[in-house]
């Protein structure tokens, strides 16, 4: 081995030019691979932290009727199915040893309406209990204008990103009720047209449930303008609204509806169907007054028991697991318990629920892998070519070695040794440089407001991170390249016969 490495090392020094070319390729490949692993790893970590801690939790419970697990950023018009039996879910979550806390929420799209234009804008609505939301995702949402709604208050919180989008739709700049215009927060275009800027403190929205239920136009008073702690460009599409207003907007049963006490007479009338309706209009009931089924919501609620928000309809339940809880058993146990409780729902991981965002790490990792594979393929071709030429140029020397007793594996090992020494030196330096770059980049505090870059960064700031796995992966790939590059030259060199030592004379 020592003899092999000695010859390999000295041959590399003897052919410095070739060694430097191959070394530079190996260095670049290893550097990019390591840096890429760091970027992907940082992105995955950042996404995981920001999405789990700030928006979705570890698991999301969705209706069994929901076809796709992706419930975060689904395409226009595809609604999230309602969950009508949250009261069955709640005790299951409370009893689960895996679950730390949870938050039921409504989530769907709404059309943004304005009397001055026919073209509607769109927004995602997240209907929550504000206090519960803050407990579930502490610190992820800071109000920069106005204030958090009081408990039970019907109000809307608009993220800064959504406010700018709304401005793009209608040229209206939304302010919290009682709030003043804060010029520093104005969008650049709005600032340039300050004189003609229209201001508003309420938003009219119409839910888009996509189902059979009838949605309503609701005028939401704007309580505050807020900013998500991370991924504001992405999560900033979601306006937070109190759950009862959300339900009304989407045409869902509110908790007040569910608490309504229907009299026996009203039940009888509600149960009339088909031909029996004739009896209703043909008899004396007609003179009894308006049908209770058509009674205004207020009339029903006047005869209601105290409303429990949990009675109403939700779309999702965000679940946070206890620290250290593994997803697989938690998911298995939770789904089994939910099924046993008769809840027509299923729990899915945050990756599945966040659709393309959850898969972003995998997609970018795949893209990076393909890029580096291409790079390494080119490297392999160049190295194979260079080493093969070197083998042929050294045919006389190799023939002599074979003549004096070197077996084929020794000759093959000599070429593998040369490639391995180059890989260890230049590839190793590439890995070190990549690791160093991964450590230094976060110090530069590179930030972005671009959606795609935020996904790539895994947050607002570019923070690549490298773990042992990433380094090991780069080293493994380098070893693979070394072997792949050395195989053909090894074969060529081992095929050189001792006759080459004399026949070239």
């Amino acid at each position: 081995m020592k003899l092999l490495l000695t010859i390999a090392w000295r041959n590399l020094l003897r052919h410095r030019g070739k060694s430097l070319v191959i070394g530079a390729i190996l260095f670049t490949g290893a550097f990019l691979m390591t840096l890429g692993n760091g970027v992907v790893s940082g992105m995955a970590r950042g996404l995981e932290k920001n999405v789990i801690d700030g928006f979705m939790g570890d698991l999301v419970i969705i209706s069994d009727a929901q076809k796709s697990d992706n419930v975060l950023l689904n395409m226009m018009g595809s609604n999230i199915e309602p969950i009508t039996d949250y009261k069955l879910i709640r005790p299951v979550l409370a009893a689960s040893p895996h679950v730390q806390r949870w938050l039921p929420a409504g989530k769907n799209m709404a059309m943004l309406l304005d009397e001055n234009t026919d073209a509607p804008g769109f927004a995602y609505l997240l209907g929550v209990d504000f206090a519960e939301y803050r407990r579930m995702f502490p610190g992820n949402f800071s109000v920069i204008e106005g204030s958090y709604p009081a408990p039970g208050e019907r109000a809307l919180l608009i993220p800064t990103f959504a406010r700018e989008e709304f401005y793009n739709y209608y040229n209206i700049w939304y302010l919290p009720e009682g709030g003043a215009l804060v010029k520093e927060n104005l969008k650049k275009e709005a600032l340039e047209h300050l004189d003609s800027l229209a201001l508003s403190t309420s938003v009219v929205m119409m839910g888009m449930s996509g189902g059979m239920n009838t949605t309503s136009d609701i005028r939401f008073p704007v309580r505050g303008i807020a900013r998500y702690g991370a991924l504001n460009q992405i999560f900033g599409h979601f306006c937070l609204v109190d759950i009862e207003s959300y339900r009304e907007c989407l045409g869902y049963f509110t908790s007040a509806d569910m608490a309504a006490q229907v009299t026996e007479e009203e039940k009888r009338l509600l149960s009339l169907e088909g031909g029996d309706l004739d009896a209703l209009f043909g008899g004396e009931e007609l003179s009894a007054g308006a049908a209770p089924a058509a009674a205004p919501r207020a009339a029903l609620t006047e005869r209601s028991a105290p409303a429990d928000p949990a009675d109403g309809v939700y779309n999702l339940v965000f679940v946070r697991l206890r620290p250290g809880a593994a997803y697989k058993p938690a998911l298995r146990d939770l789904n089994a318990a939910l099924a046993a409780a008769g809840a027509r729902v299923r729990a899915v991981t945050w990756n599945a629920a966040s659709g393309p965002i959850g898969s972003m790490a995998l997609i970018i990792k795949s893209a990076l892998f393909i890029f580096v594979t291409l790079l390494f393929s080119v490297a392999v071709i160049i190295i194979v070519n260079t080493l093969t030429m070197a083998a042929l140029e050294r045919a006389s020397e190799i023939g002599m070695m074979r003549a004096v007793g070197a077996q084929k594996p020794f000759i093959a090992g000599m070429f593998l040794g040369e490639t391995a020494v180059l890989s260890a030196l230049f590839g190793g330096a590439g890995i070190l440089a990549g690791a160093l770059a991964v450590e230094l980049i976060p110090l530069l505090e590179i930030s972005t407001k671009n959606d795609m870059l935020q996904l790539l960064y895994g947050g607002d700031i570019f923070r690549p991170a490298l773990d042992v796995y990433g380094v090991a992966l780069a080293a493994l790939q380098l070893a693979g390249v070394t072997l792949a590059a050395a195989l053909y030259p090894m074969k060529v060199s081992a095929a050189i016969t001792p006759l080459e030592a004399v026949s070239r004379d």
Binding site: K2, L3, T6, I7, R10, N11, L13, R14, S396, E397, G399, M400, M401, R402, A403, V404, G405, A406, Q407, K408, F410, T497, P498, L499, A501, V502, D505
Partner: protein, 228 residues
């Protein structure tokens, strides 16, 4: 005792559709410790004969025994092993490993035999001294003259104490004075190490060093003249 026994050795080279016979049925026996020269004009078959004896080329037909072992039917690994343990080579163009110094070149076959490094180094130093290169042990081939390189090659050929040393035109690339000194050295090593030397040449001036001369022409051994 015969260290080399050759019977009816034939070697054909295909040249397109034509077969060119290089050896047409050579019979030869070489005794242990001989200092023998194979002479003949270019293309006579002397190099082919040495290559087959040295296990670096295959016979088309016939029998070749080295120290009693038939070598014509052996596989590559086995003949490589014979080359390592039984045969030493001296090439016309020296064929040293350019990245190794004199001592490393000499000990190279011993390291292939996996002899302990210290033992290999001692043996290499002894041979370097015997061939008169003690002052050049750390020099690389590029830093040596042609004669010095061939001395290194001789030391390398002898380092494993082989049964036979084969030298193909060992003086062809050397001036006459250096060539003579190399042949003197080979004869001296033959006397000291008791190693059988077989060398080819087409230089009539070399003949006076040989104790036995075999003349080859058109692939056949003509006559064995008595050595001078």
């Amino acid at each position: 005792m015969n260290i080399i026994e050759i019977k009816d050795l034939r070697k054909d080279y295909p040249l397109g559709a034509t077969i060119v016979p290089a050896l047409r049925g050579v019979d030869l026996a070489v005794e242990e410790g001989e200092f023998m020269s194979v002479i003949g004009p270019s293309g006579s078959g002397k190099t082919t004969l040495l290559n087959i004896i040295g296990c670096i080329d295959h016979a088309t037909a016939g029998s070749v025994k080295i120290a009693g072992s038939e070598i014509t039917a052996l596989d590559d690994r086995a003949v490589t092993d014979i080359r390592l343990h039984r045969i030493g080579f001296i090439f016309q163009t020296f064929n040293l490993i350019p990245v190794l110094d004199v001592l490393e070149n000499i000990e190279f076959p011993l390291l292939l035999m996996k002899r302990p490094a210290a033992e290999a180094r001692r043996r290499a130093e002894k041979l370097a001294e015997e061939v008169g290169l003690s002052s050049y042990v750390r020099h690389r081939p590029a830093e040596l003259s042609g004669g010095q390189r061939q001395r290194v090659a001789i030391a390398r050929a002898l380092v494993t104490a082989p049964a036979i040393v084969l030298a193909d035109e060992p003086t062809a690339n050397l001036d006459s004075v250096t060539g003579a000194s190399i042949l003197e050295l080979m004869r001296e090593m033959n006397a000291v190490e008791k190693t059988t030397f077989v060398f080819s040449t087409h230089d009539a001036g070399v003949l006076r060093y040989a104790r036995r001369i075999v003349r080859i022409k058109d692939g056949l051994i003509e006559k064995e003249p008595v050595a001078a």
